[in-house]
């Protein structure tokens, strides 16, 4: 038994441990999905599809129309991204391209702090300050609206969007900027016409990740959107209450009878949510992979 053998054995043990740790992540995702599928699938057999995708969500009376919930989530998330995208990209451009070093030193940790604010705190802030403001400023009947939720979600998606977009800008070669400036373009023209377009797929990834963050958010949304399961189809829907998928699951799962139809429907909504988030994250990841093959995250 030599020293070499001991080292080899150690190497083997550590390598296996690391491998197990890596593979287990995949296994956990797979197991979670299987669990979701097992608990959620009965909903599709027990309830006619026209009920399940109907427009009336009254689970107490066996009306499980999930369409208002899906559209509610979509409305809040898309609006949040539309608000967060320009703000996030602008912040990233400022931090990366325009800010003097001292401002950068302050801004970057502040953005990290922004990411660390618990969502329930933001929800409380939204409920007590933003919602009354929206009601008085916009004249909506109530301040608990899809727009209020979107504002809070935009705030929550910002750190993700800023840091990923900043990485993307960072990966744009310095020669691009030099070339732009050498051509006689101003700094603004260089940023807007050269650097940002060169980083657009990275920015798209940022948006996707921000969206994934926003659609899965529960607590803050439940506190500020009013949770009325109405179809958000009219023009003023943005300034009316909505009910999202996440808020529905969070509000109703606690008291539902295990194994009941309602229980299975909540898991079915979980499946829908999982599939949507998975698709969003996958498209974000594939954008990163494509770019990596061409050299660098841009």
């Amino acid at each position: 038994m030599s020293k070499l053998a001991t080292i080899r054995w150690r190497e083997f043990a550590i390598e296996s441990l690391v491998r197990v740790a890596g593979v287990s992540t995949i296994a956990f995702v797979a197991l979670i999905f299987l669990f979701l599928l097992r608990e959620g699938a009965p909903a599709f057999f027990r309830i006619p599809l026209d009920n399940l995708f109907g427009v009336r969500w009254y689970p107490t009376f066996d009306l499980y129309g999930a369409l208002p919930l899906i559209l509610g989530s979509a409305l809040v998330t898309i609006t949040a991204i539309l608000i967060a995208l320009p703000l996030g990209v602008a912040t990233a451009v400022f931090v990366r391209e325009a800010a003097p070093p001292w401002a950068r030193e302050i801004l970057k940790p502040m953005i990290e702090v922004l990411a660390g604010i618990p969502s329930v705190v933001l929800g409380f802030f939204g409920m007590t300050l933003v919602a009354p403001f929206i009601r008085s400023a916009l004249g909506a009947p109530t301040g608990l609206t899809a727009f209020t939720g979107a504002l809070i979600l935009a705030y929550m998606a910002l750190p993700t969007i800023i840091s990923v977009a900043e990485d993307a800008l960072d990966a744009v070669p310095k020669s691009y900027r030099d070339a732009g400036l050498a051509m006689g373009a101003t700094q603004w023209q260089t940023i807007w016409r050269v650097v940002v377009p060169a980083a657009r797929s990275g920015i798209l990834t940022a948006v996707m990740l921000g969206m994934g963050r926003a659609i899965g958010e529960t607590m803050a949304v439940m506190m500020v959107t009013g949770n009325a399961a109405r179809m958000p189809l009219s023009l003023d829907s943005l300034f009316r209450p909505v009910r999202t998928m996440t808020a529905t699951i969070a509000a109703e799962m606690g008291e539902v009878a295990r194994g009941s139809t309602h229980y299975h429907v909540l898991f079915a909504i979980g499946i829908v949510l999982f599939v949507i988030t998975f698709a969003i994250n996958l498209s974000a990841a594939s954008a990163i992979f494509q770019k990596r093959r061409r050299g660098g995250l841009r």
């Binding site: 009336r56 969500w57 009254y58 689970p59 107490t60 009376f61 208002p68 409920m127 007590t128 919602a131 009354p132 009601r135 009947p141 109530t142 301040g143 608990l144 439940m222 506190m223 009013g226 949770n227 009325a228 399961a229 109405r230 179809m231 009316r240 209450p241 009910r243 969070a250 509000a251 109703e252 606690g254 008291e255 539902v256 009878a257 295990r258």
Partner: protein, 321 residues
């Protein structure tokens, strides 16, 4: 045991939703001391040689009452370690059926025993005795700035189904009405739907889809406090001082009554109901002592759980040692 089938009300009452998860946990928490006591008993009696027997009170029925019954049991047991009380829900019908089978000692009920249930009980040689243990009242609340002070039940039904959408239509300001409700798994939601929106009749009226479902009582009070358009409802025990309660009337001519312990107890406030416990025959011994406590000191817990305590304490008679 074959009697069970003949009881016409064995199906659980469609009353309030089953908070199963919490219920099981609570039941388990309640049963644990009983099991532990049961395990500890042989050792105890062996060492002390005393013939002390752990007494178990089985308590089952209404889901409305289950949390209150649990609170009572949890408060009573530490002071009386020889007694263990197990509380389960399942609905009023289930509780009464179990009482007639002799499997429970106390049946919790959010309605009075039905005539056919009483007949079935008599046939089984059981004479159920009724005790009102608390009352359940729901207050309708608006913002303090809202000039509305009174509404009929029909008006509230029309407001919550979306037929009336502006305060002007009920004599208020020209403002939209914002409907607030508890989440659909709250017992209060179902009770309000049946007693107010459906006016106690059979119908398929539902809450308007525009109703905001608030995850907590605090959600309702926060919105009512700051939004002059809002209307909400909640158990009387949960209404805070910064909301304005509405006086309700059964019909437009009838007296408009504000909810209070007195008006709830004399039955003049329309959205309230007594909650009962039924015992097979006149209570005696442990059960009598427990009921005595529930109707006396136990009433202090009632308002904490959002119900209305009884106005007067009616003792069952002299307590047994």
């Amino acid at each position: 045991m074959t009697r069970t089938g003949s009881i016409p009300c064995a199906q659980p009452e469609p009353d309030r939703r089953l908070p199963t998860g919490r219920l099981l946990l609570a039941a388990w928490l309640c049963l644990m001391p009983a099991l532990l006591a049961g395990c500890a008993l042989p050792a105890d009696s062996a060492s002390a040689g005393a013939p002390s027997i752990a007494l178990t009170i089985q308590n089952k029925g209404s889901d409305t009452l289950v949390n209150l019954a649990l609170a009572w049991a949890e408060a009573y047991m530490p002071a009386h370690p020889e007694i263990s009380i197990s509380v389960t829900g399942g609905g009023t019908g289930t509780g009464i059926a179990a009482l007639l089978n002799g499997t429970v000692d106390i049946a919790n009920a959010s309605r009075q025993i039905k005539a056919e249930e009483y007949t079935a009980a008599q046939a089984a040689g059981i004479f159920p005795v009724e005790f009102t243990v608390a009352r359940d009242a729901i207050a309708v609340v608006v913002n303090r700035a809202n000039p509305i002070t009174q509404l009929t039940l029909q008006q509230i039904s029309d407001i919550y189904t979306g037929k009336i959408t502006n305060w002007r239509q009920v004599g208020g300001l020209d403002r939209p009405i914002v409907l607030l409700s508890r989440e659909s798994n709250s017992g209060t939601y179902v009770y309000f739907l049946e007693q107010v929106i459906r006016l106690g009749k059979k119908s398929d009226l539902l809450f308007s889809p525009d109703t905001l479902l608030m995850p907590s009582s605090e959600g309702i009070s926060a919105e009512v406090r700051q939004n002059p358009n809002a209307i909400g409802y909640d158990g009387l025990g949960y209404v805070t001082a910064d909301q304005k309660m509405i006086a309700l009337a059964r019909d437009p001519h009838g007296p408009y009554v504000l909810p209070a312990i007195a008006t709830v107890n004399d039955g003049s406030y329309p959205v309230s109901r007594p909650l009962y416990m039924y015992i097979a025959g006149e209570p005696a011994g442990t059960i009598r002592a427990y009921l005595d406590w529930v109707l006396g000191d136990g009433q202090e817990l009632v308002s904490k759980l959002g119900f209305v305590p009884l106005e007067t304490y009616r003792p069952l008679g002299s307590r047994r040692p």
